[in-house]
Structure formats: C-alpha cells, structure tokens
Symmetry: C2
Subunit: 360 residues, 2 copies
C-alpha cells in the first residue's frame, strides 16, 4: 500500500537521525511490499533560515497532505545561535508549538521505560529499579498555559506579565479517553496528575477524569498531586503504568521520567489528533554540540518511526519488526556513544541505522 510520509529533518542532529529512520522505513517498504512517498517539510531553525519564520502555511498544508510526519529535533544553542536573537514568537520552538496547534495534536504519548540492556545507564540504584519499569505518559498538548492568553503590560513603570491556564471539559475528556484507551492495552492503571489542592483547572480535570473512568471499569484510577508525582518518579517508577496529565505538568514530568530511564537517546514520542494522523519525534533535543559528527543515537527516531507505523499507518507487524530489530542490535552489544558501556561495541549513527536494518 502507498503511504505519504512527511519528513521534518529539523536542526542540530535532526538531519542525521531522520536519515537513519528513513533508511529503516525504506527497508520496511522493501521487506513488506509497501510504498512510502516522502515529502520534506521545513520547521524550526531550518524554516527560519529558508523562509524567515519557524513555521509556514506551506508546511502546515504539506503536513495535512501526509498520513503522518516524522520529525527530528528542532532548535539550536540558545546562547550562540542567531535564531535566539529573534522575538520568542519567531524562534524555532514557536514553530513546534504552532504545528501542534495547527494540526490539533492534543494527545502526546511519551513512553519511558528501562531497557534491560541499559540498566547500568539508569541513574537509580539497583534496589529501586528492581524488576524495571515501563510507563506511558499521556500529556495534553494543545491547551493549558501553553496556549492561554498572555500579555505583558507596563503601568507606572512596573511591568506585569500574565499567562492563563484554561481547560474546558471537552479538552479534558478527549485526552482522558486516550489515556484510558492506552491503559486498556497495557497494565490497566491510570495515574491522573494534577494540583487539585490549588488550581480550579485541576479540580475540573479531576472531576472529568472521574467521569471518563466510569466507562472503563477495568482500569484502576488513581489521582496524584504533581509535586508528589515528581517525587514518586524517583522513589518508585515501577508504580506507574499510564500517567495522564495536562500540558505543563506533562512537559516537566515526562522529561524527569525520561532522565530516570537513563537513556533519553532511546525514547520516542507521538503527537496525535482525532484522526489517524500523527507527528512523531524523539523525546530528546537537537544536541547542536554533537551535530554533524555521526555520533548521535538514532534509536529514539527509529522507534518514533515504529510508533508511526503502528498508530498512523496501522502497520503493527512492521512496527513490531522495527522494535525487535532495535532490541536485537542492543542485545548484540552495539551502542552509540551516549549509551556505551564496558564490553559493548561502539558504533556511529549510520552504523547503528545499518545494523537495525540488518536485524529487520
């Protein structure tokens, strides 16, 4: 079958890691007899360089013509890159926020789990890791503080800045449903995270999540305050299955969780809307300091491509094959430098891509 895939190479290490993911996708085509038609889309720094703005209508239009978009990471070094001389709304990150909103990508899935082969990289002690952990963070991505009204005013020489955190019940309900749906395919536990002892938006969040939970009697629902969740991720990550939370809390907690795994170079993500369409990207950043050296870890992007096969293209067998090829490359002892350890064989970005293709 033919599928249209948008590729956003992005900034920093983005182009290198997207190339490896494409290599794997091409191998999937050959092996399973599909046709993937690629189009290249510009976003972030690359779009600023080419078009003067981080996101153009053309990119949004192109994305809408695709079945899914695979993206590298975007952004540069905030201290040295000229992009960061621009107004905040014209910087690379604004392009990412813009495309999330333009495509209504409200459901952000960020898996965080411990690879058995990479236990040694986990910052937590063996006693805490125990039998490992495997959670899915379901972050609301188009509401809350990120997209509320904001303004900075100056009255009598005193500047005041305001951001607004707004959620309506429809926004909460649709992300909660996604969270429970995913939990049904996993260990059937949802931890909904909020700050209901302080925020009205969190109290509405909690109420709506309770309502949605009624349709999923098999799923165990637990509410946790965000400050406590930040502690529990360090204390006992294995307690979590699905973490369901709003935009800003999800930003903080998903990054904390990814660091707790010790291997952020391995973590994929998906941003979905109400259709089958999705934007897939590694959880990690654009690492401009190591860009162009062929040493970046392409696995997070390759696993993002696997998520794309599964969620947007309904190619589960192919997704399984990619994930198992990654596991085989790790089991065979191949490592990029970020996850290197004693007794393993260090390989480059492109060698890792080739190896994963060879295990397909």
């Amino acid at each position: 079958m033919e599928h249209r895939i948008g590729l956003i190479h992005g900034d920093g290490i983005g182009p290198e890691i997207v190339d490896e993911a494409k290599k794997v996708l091409d191998a999937v085509c050959t092996k399973y007899g599909h046709t993937f038609v690629y189009s290249k889309l510009l976003l972030g720094g690359a779009s600023i360089d080419a078009c003067g703005v981080p996101l153009t209508d053309e990119t949004v239009g192109q994305a809408k013509d695709c079945d899914a978009v695979l993206m590298g990471s975007i952004g540069g070094d905030a201290k040295t890159s000229p992009w960061y001389q621009l107004e905040p709304s014209r910087r690379p990150e604004a392009g990412l926020l813009g495309i999330r909103k333009a495509l209504n990508l409200f459901a952000n899935l960020r898996p965080a789990y411990l690879y058995d082969e990479l236990r040694a990289a986990c910052p937590l002690r063996e006693e805490i890791i125990g039998g490992g952990f495997d959670m899915m963070i379901m972050r609301e991505l188009t509401g809350g503080l990120y997209f509320g009204e904001r303004k900075t005013t100056e009255v009598d020489g005193v500047r005041t800045a305001v951001d607004t955190l707004t959620y309506n019940e429809q926004e909460i309900r649709r992300i909660a449903k996604r969270g429970f749906d995913i939990a049904m395919k996993r260990r059937k536990k949802v931890t909904s995270v909020d700050k209901a002892n302080v925020l009205d938006s969190s109290r509405l969040w909690r109420a709506v999540v309770e309502e949605v939970a009624k349709d999923y009697p098999e799923v165990e629902l637990e509410h946790m305050l965000v400050d406590n969740c930040a502690m529990q991720l360090v204390k006992n990550p294995a307690q979590f299955d699905v973490i369901l939370t709003e935009n800003m809390f999800g930003d903080i907690l998903s990054d904390e969780a990814s660091m707790v795994t010790g291997s952020i170079g391995m973590l994929s993500s998906a941003s979905l809307n109400e259709t089958k369409f999705g934007l897939y990207e590694p959880s990690h950043g654009s690492a401009p300091d190591i860009a162009g050296q062929n040493i970046a870890n392409p696995i997070a992007t390759i696993l993002s491509a696997a998520m794309m096969l599964r969620y947007s293209l309904d190619l589960d067998t192919e997704a399984d094959a990619v994930e198992s090829a990654v596991k085989k490359a790790l089991a065979a002892g191949y490592r990029t430098v970020d996850i290197m350890s004693d007794g393993c064989r260090q390989v480059s970005t492109s060698e890792m891509g080739d190896l994963i293709v060879s295990y397909l």
Copy 2:
C-alpha cells in the same frame, strides 16, 4: 533575651515532631540563657476541628505578635479524612496558603542536601552522587498560579476552568534579591528556572533576574528551563547551588530534590517576608498513617527550629549548636525508622529528641 515563638502543632505527626523541636529549643534556652515565650496557634485540620475553618483571624493576629512561628505538618489522608469532604477552600491546605499570603511570606527556602551518613538512602547511584550535593531552593511563595484569579464557569453545559499566572517585576525582584543574597553566603551560583520559551511571566522573570544579577557581579547566573531542571536534578544534582524559581515550579522541583536526597525526614524549610519574621516547617508532609506511634523522624522539624534561630532570632551560635547536635546523633549511629540502615541503632521520635538535646 526574650523571644516570642508561635507553635503550630498541626496534624498527623505534627504534634509529636513539634514537641521534640520544643524540647531542643528549651535546652537551647537553658544553655544559652534565653527566654522563649511560646504561644500555641491553630492551623489546618486542627483549626477546622476547633473553629470550623482552616485559618482564623485570631491565628493570623497571634502569628503577627510572634518573632517567628514553628510549625509541624498539616493535612490528613485525602481519602479518609472528613476534612476532604469540605470545599477546597475550607480544607487544611487552604489554611497554609492563607497564612503564607496573610503574612506575606514570599520567600520559601528549602535546602536539599545529602547527609554523608545517609548516602545509602539516596535513590541515586554512587557514581552520580559522587562527592555529594548541597542545594538551596528559593521558591517564590505568594504569587503565580497559586494566588492568581481563578474561576470555573458553565456555558451551554460545558464547564471551563481558568487559573491565572501573574507576576510583576517587584515580586520577581524581591525574591531574586533573596536568591542572590543567599548565594553570596554559599557557593555563589544561581540557577534561575523558568519556561521562557513559552510563558510571558517566565520571560519577565528572566529579564528581572538579569537586572538583579548586575548588583551581584561575583555570583554566576545561569538560566535553565523547568523541564531541563527536572532532568538535571536526577542526572547531576551537584551542579546546583541556589535554584531560584517561581511558585509552582518551585513546588514541583523542591519535592523532586527532596526525594533525590533520599531523606525527606531530614529537610527543613523557612518562609520569610520582608521583616525578620518567618514560618518554619519540615519539608515533609503530615504522614497520618504513622501519626501517634512515636516513630516519626523529628529531625526536619528540629532543623527548621535551627533555621528559625538563625534567620528570625539572629542566634547563629545556637543554630550551629543544634545543627551540630543533629550531626552528632547521626554520627553516633542513631536513626529513626525512616532512615534506618544496617549497623545503626533504631530509636523513637522522643528518643531522637532526647539524644539531640544530649549532644547540644
């Protein structure tokens, strides 16, 4: 000299741990020839039980008549306690928020450091702990989402909730100054944490912190995004000296940092206004599950009393003496159950208080 000290025993383990701190304060009086005049204040659950509301004008008035207030923890089990059948604004935690605002306690200091004796309790691997870590989190406590306008409305059957995050430059400047002042007495590094790639309030925060930094040329200032900070606390806590941040981010990060130390039963806190007055409390919660068993760790409260001696009463020698007595009790191998490890001697709440007095 005579000092007026308010005592809020609080809920759960609060009364037990405050009693031990008072024991230590009494011993300080005797040894150094001071007079501490105590008054008992009600807050939180205890205030609900006695007066129907979590904070009364009487408590605020009594607190204002004191030089400082020492508090146990407040709140109960949200699942079982009748306090949590009440409206959010009438629950124990609302009393805490209310007293912070009523007394203008905008500067919340939360130290998080690794006790050499308690390394084994730290959830992080030895390689990551390295030479240990010692940070001070300076959290803004009376602004931001906690005290912004909020409302929940229903239009055409759809509920919408709004919280507002507001900071003006005066609020930012006064907390930033406190952060830099503390840094001058420590390792002269400030990490200011915000989400300036998204929020207007964070952009103002960053600009004002930059302005304040000009008055402290010796202090190294670094800006860090909140999601990155949540990662760095796990990856390399030793990089931090003073973390300066707004209310909600400070709530999340200080709890994460306290868990990273592995000994939240040991961590004190201070909430200060523009005067010498302060409210001192342990960083941990009220642990209703172990209340009344004489097993809770009183050290966080005793160290909060030491902070009180130092910051509100200008009794540095006495504060040093209390802190060193705590260290001696630990060095001698005494532990409450929460920090117990092989080869140590387990003691009760009151025994730990007696031991610390004996080492004074």
